[in-house]
C-alpha cells in the first residue's frame, strides 16, 4: 500500500464499484450455496408418528450423523476407489502424451506441425457428453470398426464396457478429450524458452533427446505443475462420461463415481442432507489433495532453485 502518491477524487471508490458485479454473483451463486450445503449437511428430517399431517416431518439438528453415515457408506467409498483407479490411468497417460506431443511439436524439422497440432487440440471443442457418446458407439460390438477388424482377423473380442476394460474405456475418453488442451499449455511455454538455450546445448553436442530431458522439461516444470493440478481436480469430479455411458451398459451403476452418488442421493432418493454431507466431504478432499500437491510442487521447486 503506497498512499504517498496523491490520488484524484473518486479513484478510491472505483475498484470497489467495479468489483460489485463479481462480488454479488460470488455471494449469490458461490458463497450462499456452499454455506447452505454445509448447513444442510448438519441437518436431517425427523418423522414423528406415521409421518402424516403437517408438522409430522420436521428438520432437526443432526450433528455429525450425516458425515459418519457418508464415511461408512461402502458405495461412496467404493466410488472414491473407482475414481482413484481411473485417475491413476488418466492423469499420467494424458499428461505424458501431452508432454510428448508438445516436445515433438517443438522439435526441429517436424512436418505437418500446424495440422497435427490442430487435430490433437480438436477434441477440446467437443462436449464431454458427445465424446462419451462417440466412443460409446465405438465400443459397441455391433457398430465398432475395432470389432469388425478383430472379427475378420479371428481374434478374441473383449467386452470393453465391463470389468477392468471399463476403466480403460472411460479413461480413454478423458485422455482423448484432455490431451490437446494440456499439450497446448505445455507447448506455449516450450516456445517461450529462448532459442539460444538449446542452440548452445546443440553446439556442445547434446542430442535432441538430451536437450528435451535435461533442458526443456525442467524449464516447463511450472506449466506441468499447473496441468497436473487441473487434471487432478477434473478427474475427481468425473460425472459426464460415466453418466453418458450408463445407458449403453449395465456395468456403470448410478453411483459409479462420488459425484454420481451425490446426484443419486439428492434427486433419486431425495435425501438432500446426506447428499450435502457427501458433497462437502468431496469438496474438502479436493481442496486437500490439490493444495497438498501444490505445496509439494513448490517445495520441490525451491529445493531445485537452491541447488
Amino acid at each position: 500500500m503506497t498512499s504517498a502518491r496523491r490520488k484524484p477524487y473518486g479513484v478510491k471508490g472505483a475498484p470497489y464499484a467495479f468489483l460489485i458485479p463479481a462480488t454479488v454473483l460470488f455471494l449469490l451463486f458461490f458463497a450462499l450455496p456452499i454455506g447452505y450445503a454445509i448447513w444442510l449437511s448438519f441437518r436431517k428430517v425427523k418423522v414423528s408418528g406415521l409421518g402424516l399431517g403437517s408438522g409430522a416431518r420436521r428438520e432437526v439438528w443432526a450433528g455429525l450423523e450425516n458425515y459418519t453415515a457418508a464415511l461408512t457408506d461402502s458405495e461412496l467409498v467404493n466410488g472414491a476407489l473407482r475414481v482413484l483407479g481411473y485417475g491413476c490411468i488418466v492423469v499420467p497417460v494424458m499428461l505424458g502424451l501431452a508432454l510428448l506431443f508438445a516436445l515433438m511439436l517443438d522439435s526441429d524439422k517436424v512436418r505437418f506441425a500446424p495440422f497435427t497440432r490442430l487435430a490433437i487440440f480438436l477434441p477440446y471443442a467437443i462436449p464431454g457428453v458427445v465424446a462419451a457418446l462417440l466412443w460409446g458407439f465405438l465400443y459397441l460390438p455391433d457398430v465398432s470398426p475395432f470389432y469388425f477388424v478383430l472379427d475378420r482377423l479371428g481374434l478374441p473380442q473383449p467386452d470393453l464396457l465391463d470389468g477392468g476394460p471399463l476403466y480403460l474405456a472411460l479413461s480413454n475418453i478423458a485422455v482423448w478429450g484432455g490431451t490437446g488442451f494440456n499439450m497446448i499449455v505445455i507447448y506455449t511455454s516450450l516456445q517461450a524458452i529462448p532459442a539460444e538455450v538449446h542452440e548452445a546445448a546443440k553446439l556442445d553436442g547434446a542430442t535432441p533427446l538430451q536437450i528435451a530431458l535435461k533442458i526443456k522439461i525442467p524449464m516447463v516444470a511450472p506449466s506441468l505443475v499447473l496441468t497436473f493440478f487441473f487434471s487432478i481436480i477434473a478427474t475427481l469430479q468425473v460425472f459426464n462420461e460415466p453418466t453418458t455411458l450408463k445407458p449403453l451398459t449395465n456395468s456403470v451403476s448410478t453411483t459409479w463415481s462420488p459425484l454420481m452418488k451425490v446426484y443419486q442421493d439428492a434427486f433419486g432418493k431425495g435425501d438432500i442432507y446426506a447428499a450435502a454431507a457427501q458433497a462437502t466431504i468431496i469438496a474438502l478432499a479436493t481442496l486437500l489433495l490439490s493444495f497438498g500437491f501444490l505445496r509439494a510442487a513448490n517445495r520441490r521447486q525451491k529445493q531445485e532453485a537452491a541447488r
Binding site: P15, Y16, L19, A22, L25, F26, F29, F30, L32, P33, Y36, A37, M104, S107, K109, V110, R111, F112, P114, F115, R117, L118, A119, I120, F121, L122, P123, I126, G128, V129, A131, L133, L134, W135, G136, F137, V143, P145, F148, W176, T179, I184, T188, Q191, A192, P222, L236, Q237, F239, N240, T243, P247, L259, Y263, F267, I272, A279, I282, A283, T286
Partner: protein, 302 residues
C-alpha cells in the same frame, strides 16, 4: 490450414520417388520420429470424429451391415427424421445451447473484464483477499454448487427456467484470473494516469481507454467461457426438467437414454451427435488463429 498441409503432402509424395541424389537432403529435412508420432496422435484424435461423420450418412440397416468407414446413403433421411423427432425439438436444443453459451459467455466476459481491470490497475485494501476468494471458486466441485443452487433457486421459483442455467455461469473465476493477468500486461499505468490528468472519470477511462486495449485477451475469455457453457452438462441436468429448455448436451443424452435399447433410434443419436459437433468445430477452426493461447503460458509464468 489443413489444405496447406495436404498441399505439402502432395509435394513430399511427388519428390519422394525422385533420383537417388534427392533423397538424403529430404531425409535430413524431416524429423522422422516426431512427425510420425504427431501423425499418430492426430489420427487418434480424428478417428471418432471421422467415424461420426461417416456413420451419420448411414441408414439404419446400413449402420449394422456395412463396413464402418464406408459411407452410406441415408444422410438426408437421417436429418429429416431427426428434425421431425418430437416436432423439431432437436433444433430447439441447438438454439438453446447457442443462447446459453452466447449470452452467458458475453455477460461473463463483461464481468471478468471489469473485475480483472480493477484487480490489475488499482491498489486497494482487500485486493488480494478478494482475488484469492474469487479464485477458490475454481476448486469447488460443480456438484457442491449445483445441488444447493438448485434448492435455493427452487425457493424463488426459478428452477426449470432459462435463468437457472444462465445465472450461475456468469461469474467465471478462471475468466477473472485471465482478465487480471491480461489487463496487467496490456494496460500501461501511464495511460490510465494520463486519462486522469485529462479529467476523465474512472469508468470512462476503463470503457474508452483500457477496454479497447484488452480486446484480444477478452476474446480468449469469451471463447473459453463459450466452450465451457456449451459443454456443460451437470448444471442443466440438475436444473431443467422441461425438454424445450434443454441445451444440446442434455438433449442428446436423453435421446441416447431412449435410444440405447432401441437400435432403430441409433441413427438419430448418431446424426444428432454429428450435427452437434459441427458448430463448435467450425467456430474452433475459424477462431483458433485469434486465440491468444500465449495468455495461458503467461499465466503460468507469473
Amino acid at each position: 490450414m489443413s489444405s496447406l498441409a495436404v498441399g505439402k503432402t502432395a509435394t513430399a509424395a511427388g519428390s519422394a520417388p525422385g533420383t537417388v541424389q534427392d533423397r538424403p537432403p529430404l531425409r535430413r529435412r524431416i524429423a522422422f520420429v516426431p512427425t510420425v508420432t504427431l501423425l499418430l496422435g492426430a489420427l487418434y484424435c480424428l478417428l471418432p470424429v471421422a467415424w461420426v461423420v461417416i456413420a451419420a450418412t448411414k441408414s439404419g440397416s446400413e449402420l449394422f451391415s456395412t463396413f464402418t468407414f464406408l459411407p452410406g446413403t441415408g444422410f438426408a433421411d437421417n436429418v429429416s427424421e431427426l428434425s421431425a423427432y418430437r416436432d423439431g425439438v432437436y433444433w430447439q436444443w441447438m438454439g438453446n445451447s447457442a443462447l446459453y453459451a452466447g449470452l452467458g459467455a458475453l455477460l461473463s466476459t463483461c464481468v471478468s473484464a471489469v473485475s480483472g481491470y480493477a484487480l490489475a490497475t488499482y491498489r486497494f485494501r482487500g485486493r488480494e483477499t478478494l482475488f484469492n476468494v474469487l479464485l477458490a471458486g475454481v476448486l469447488m466441485p460443480p456438484i457442491i454448487l449445483a445441488v444447493p443452487q438448485y434448492l435455493l433457486l427452487a425457493n424463488v421459483g426459478l428452477t426449470d427456467s432459462y435463468l437457472s442455467v444462465l445465472l450461475p455461469q456468469i461469474l467465471s473465476p478462471y475468466g477473472v484470473y485471465l482478465s487480471r493477468i491480461y489487463a496487467a500486461a496490456a494496460v500501461p499505468a501511464d495511460v490510465v494516469e494520463a486519462g486522469r490528468m485529462d479529467g476523465a472519470s474512472e469508468w470512462r477511462i476503463f470503457t474508452r481507454v483500457a477496454l479497447p486495449m484488452m480486446v484480444p485477451g477478452m476474446v480468449t475469455v469469451f471463447l473459453f467461457q463459450f466452450v465451457a457453457v456449451w459443454n456443460n452438462f451437470l448444471l442443466p441436468y440438475i436444473m431443467l426438467s422441461d425438454d424445450e429448455k434443454f441445451p444440446i448436451t442434455l438433449g442428446l443424452f436423453t435421446l441416447l437414454e431412449q435410444g440405447a435399447n432401441t437400435p432403430a433410434l441409433y441413427t438419430l443419436v448418431i446424426t444428432g451427435a454429428f450435427l452437434a459437433v459441427i458448430p463448435l468445430v467450425a467456430l474452433f477452426l475459424v477462431i483458433q488463429r485469434f486465440w491468444s493461447l500465449d495468455l495461458l503460458s503467461g499465466a503460468v509464468k507469473s
